[in-house]
């Protein structure tokens, strides 16, 4: 892993995190207005793997996959694009967690699982290039420059494999992008996404609390505490 949480004893951690946790209202943070991260803070991150065009695509895509609205924070403001970029620069992104020896049989039945030669970072590179090419042919603009509704249409077409991309199965690329987007949205904030535990507050997941012995005897009662992160942040 490229980042490790600081080592800390459990007791210190709990004391630290409980001390200032406010008792929240019904269902965690559902009533709290979603936080907004300034564009300046977002731009402070310089991508390690994606080039400028790819970075624009990833930001524009995650912004539509989980958009910001009154329900809760969107993927872009929670740092999901940063999360994906950091994952690309990790063992996972380099395909080191997968069996990647040939021969490859990309047309094997879908039920037999992923059979492409692309590592995750290669799939992004090839997929983004092909989508950009398709968008310029169809819409005379790059993906990031399209209106939000048009971006949604393109993503739907990718999802259902209804457009044919050059050299990349559209649905496979979309599946990878959506999976990583949800990972970045819900993973611990130390990986760069889920800033300020925004998604956890929205759904009512208490994150790394991991201690509910007192609550098993109170079935059906709403759990009142907000989330904590592995590094001890609380919300």
């Amino acid at each position: 892993m490229s980042s490790q949480p600081p080592s800390r004893s459990r007791r210190d951690f709990i004391r630290h995190s409980l001390a200032t946790v406010p008792a929240l209202g019904l269902f965690g943070g559902a009533m709290i207005a979603p936080g907004r991260v300034s564009a300046a803070a977002r731009q402070a991150y310089a991508p390690r793997y994606f080039n400028a065009d790819e970075w624009a695509f990833v930001q524009a895509a995650v912004d539509r996959l989980i958009p910001a609205d009154d329900t809760g924070p969107g993927a872009l403001e929670l740092g999901v694009a940063e999360f994906i970029d950091r994952q690309m620069d990790d063992a996972y992104g380099r395909g080191e967690l997968w069996y990647m020896q040939g021969p490859f049989v990309p047309d094997a039945p879908a039920t037999l699982g992923y059979q492409l030669r692309f590592t995750p970072r290669e799939l992004y590179r090839a997929g983004i290039k092909a989508v950009e090419q398709w968008c310029r042919q169809q819409h005379n603009k790059g993906f990031a420059a399209l209106a939000p509704e048009v971006r949604d249409q393109v993503l739907q077409q990718l999802e259902h494999g209804s457009i044919s991309l050059e050299g990349v199965p559209a649905a496979a690329f979309f599946g990878q992008l959506l999976q990583n987007t949800k990972e970045g949205y819900f993973a611990d904030p130390m990986y760069g996404g889920n800033r300020d535990m925004g998604s956890w507050k929205m759904i009512g997941f208490p994150g790394a609390r991991a201690d509910f012995a007192d609550w098993i005897e109170q079935p059906g009662k709403v759990y009142p505490f907000g989330p904590v992160s592995i590094r001890g942040d609380k919300a």
Partner: protein
């Protein structure tokens, strides 16, 4: 090649059964060496809080699993197809490192039903031989429940299993599983209290006339000291169980039950980063002389031993026997041969149960197995199969193992997979969704088996194991029958909405979806060397100083989680080795 000092016994793989055998043989006074291909792992520091509460690292990227980049398996649906590699985790999760899958299981700790061990005989007697399809290849284990009972109990007491007996010495007990085989003693610990989802399930199951009981769970419900003097702590329902190590010393694993004693034995040694390539045989092919392994720096090492215990995960056991030339490989065309025979799996279904916002399920308050309720009315032969036309069954469960949002967040059917509508459904459903599921058996068939892949290799250049598997009609019928009864319970729970995921006729085995890690068979027990690789003491018919532990010994799969039976069989075999084999090394059963 480097040659090491001979030992009395060498154990291949240091998970559950390697640890059990290690202590049993060390107690018997043998010089014992265990070889583990992974690293040393212990509760502290490897599973400690808070870094273990990391869904991405453990639950999604699989930090505790076998690195597939180095070794995987290949899979195809039928004998005439070309298998392709299992490149990413999906259907099952292979273990790695000390403790193996015993560190990242959930702790569901079941016994088989008595008839599960004599299934062929039982089905033939009750329903007639024609009740089984012609290509179904089910067999008896060659030992009975009554013989195995003390060893099933021994493993429960080592693990500190939490549960409530349903049958003590033939007397049915209120609140336990009324369908279970008789047990001599109560569980060592009382059940973990029900989560809210489990409580709603149990009330509904009772209302429709079924017999719910708390799931037997090796998540300790209270502080417990096991017979070895090792102490477990009470489970705190942290919600990070399966796929994670336990930071509370609550989930039974080799680390929390056996290793603190075993690692101090002067006549026991463990070598990690030692990947066994094969079991070596003498010129007759009838006697093992030890094993050859690759050490951390890549050097091949010969380890001589008088006794070889093959104690890796089910698939690895089958592969090692094939690579070593022990036993005749199974041939699906003729139905002859034994190694790779009767590979089986399990058939699952699931129902997401969506409640309104006034019902707080709090899915993150969860143990891996404690706090879940079970209906066992339709498992094994607990009911008359005659009108239903299938063999086997399973249990229905209600409760949750966690609310980790990347993997476990559910949205109602019809919700888009992304976008504003998905987000709203995720927010509105998360705290109010319970889980009900079914966990069913899979029988053995002539065309479902394991062998060596002709094309793909591991990091050491050895062929991968090839799985040939797909569903049969018997299992589609079983899962429909079980799921209909699960739906009956769910309807009684009166949710706002529910959504069933079921495998239907025509659906192929889909390796992208996690189902269970309960793969079985390939080196099975039995009474006849023509149809089994091992005798009733898990001893190779062909090479009597080789014993093979684990679910590879199951002749077909059961409707329960396998670990309880695996532990019972291992202690049963260990006793036979200690009391009979060591006095007179040779076959414990004459072929």
């Amino acid at each position: 090649m480097k040659r090491m000092k001979p030992v009395d016994a060498v154990i291949v793989g240091f998970g559950w059964t390697g640890a059990m055998m290690g202590l049993e043989l060390a107690e018997a006074g043998l010089e014992v060496l265990a070889l583990e291909r992974g690293d040393y792992r212990d509760t502290s520091p490897d599973f400690s809080y808070p870094q273990i509460a990391d869904e991405l690292a453990y639950g999604i990227r699989g930090k505790l699993f076998q690195p597939l980049a180095r070794e995987t398996v290949t899979i195809r649906h039928a004998v005439n197809e070309t298998a392709v590699p299992y490149r990413q985790y999906g259907s099952f999760l292979l273990g790695n490192n000390v403790g193996g899958a015993g560190t990242h299981w959930n702790g569901q700790h079941y016994r088989p039903s008595p008839e599960d061990l004599e299934l062929h005989t039982h089905i033939t007697q009750r329903y007639g031989a024609k009740f089984m399809p012609a290509d179904m290849q089910i067999q008896d284990y060659g030992l009975s429940y009554d013989e195995l009972e003390p060893f099933l109990e021994k493993f429960e007491y080592v693990c500190g299993t939490s549960g409530r007996a349903g049958n003590l010495g033939g007397q049915v007990q209120i609140g336990g599983n009324p369908f279970e085989g008789p047990r001599q003693h109560e569980y060592p610990n009382p059940p973990v209290a029900d989560t809210y989802g489990a409580k709603l399930f149990a009330d509904a199951a009772r209302a429709v006339g079924f017999h719910p009981f708390p799931q037997p769970s090796s998540n300790a419900s209270r502080p417990y000291t096991n017979p070895y003097g090792v102490r477990l702590g009470p489970c705190n329902l942290c919600g990070y169980c399966e796929r994670f190590g336990c930071f509370m010393y609550s989930k039974a694993s080799p680390q929390t039950t056996i290793l603190p004693v075993l690692m101090r034995k002067p006549n026991f040694a463990l070598r990690t980063n030692s990947h066994v390539l094969k079991v070596n045989l003498d010129s007759t092919g009838k006697r093992a002389t030890g094993v050859t392994y690759v050490d951390a720096q890549g050097q091949q090492v010969e380890q001589p031993a008088e006794l070889v215990i093959v104690a890796a995960f089910q698939m690895h056991n089958v592969r090692l026997l094939l690579l070593s030339g022990i036993g005749k490989p199974y041939d699906p065309a003729s139905g002859s041969g034994v190694i790779g025979r009767n590979y089986a799996y399990q058939m699952m279904s699931g129902i997401s149960v969506f409640f309104d916002k006034d019902v707080a399920i709090n899915p993150f308050i969860a143990a891996g197995s404690g706090g879940t309720e079970i209906v066992d009315d339709f498992n094994s032969d607990h009911f008359d199969h005659g009108p239903h036309g299938f063999v086997g069954g399973g249990y229905i469960f209600g409760g949750q193992t966690g609310g980790r949002p990347i993997q476990q967040l559910m949205v109602p059917p019809g919700t888009p997979a992304w976008g504003a509508k998905w987000k709203q459904a995720a927010r509105d459903s998360y705290l109010h969704t319970a889980t009900v599921g079914t966990h069913g058996s899979v029988m053995a068939y002539r065309d479902r088996y394991l062998d060596l892949d002709p094309t793909y290799k591991d990091a050491f250049g050895q062929p991968l194991l090839r799985i040939t598997f797909d569903w049969h009609d018997n299992e589609y019928k079983m899962t429909r029958f079980l799921s209909d009864r699960a739906q009956q319970i769910v309807d009684q729970m009166k949710p706002r909405q529910s959504s069933l995921t079921i495998r239907q006729p025509g659906d192929h085995y889909d390796i992208r979806q996690y189902q269970t890690t309960h793969t079985t068979g390939g080196v099975i027990t039995g009474a006849d060397p023509a149809t089994s690789a091992l005798n009733r003491y898990l001893q190779s018919w062909d090479v009597p100083n080789v014993f093979v532990t684990g679910a590879s010994a199951f002749p077909q799969n059961i409707g329960y989680n396998p670990t309880g039976l695996i532990g019972g069989l291992t202690y049963w075999a260990a006793k036979a080795i200690r009391e009979n084999y060591l006095k007179n090394p040779g076959p414990l059963v004459q072929a």
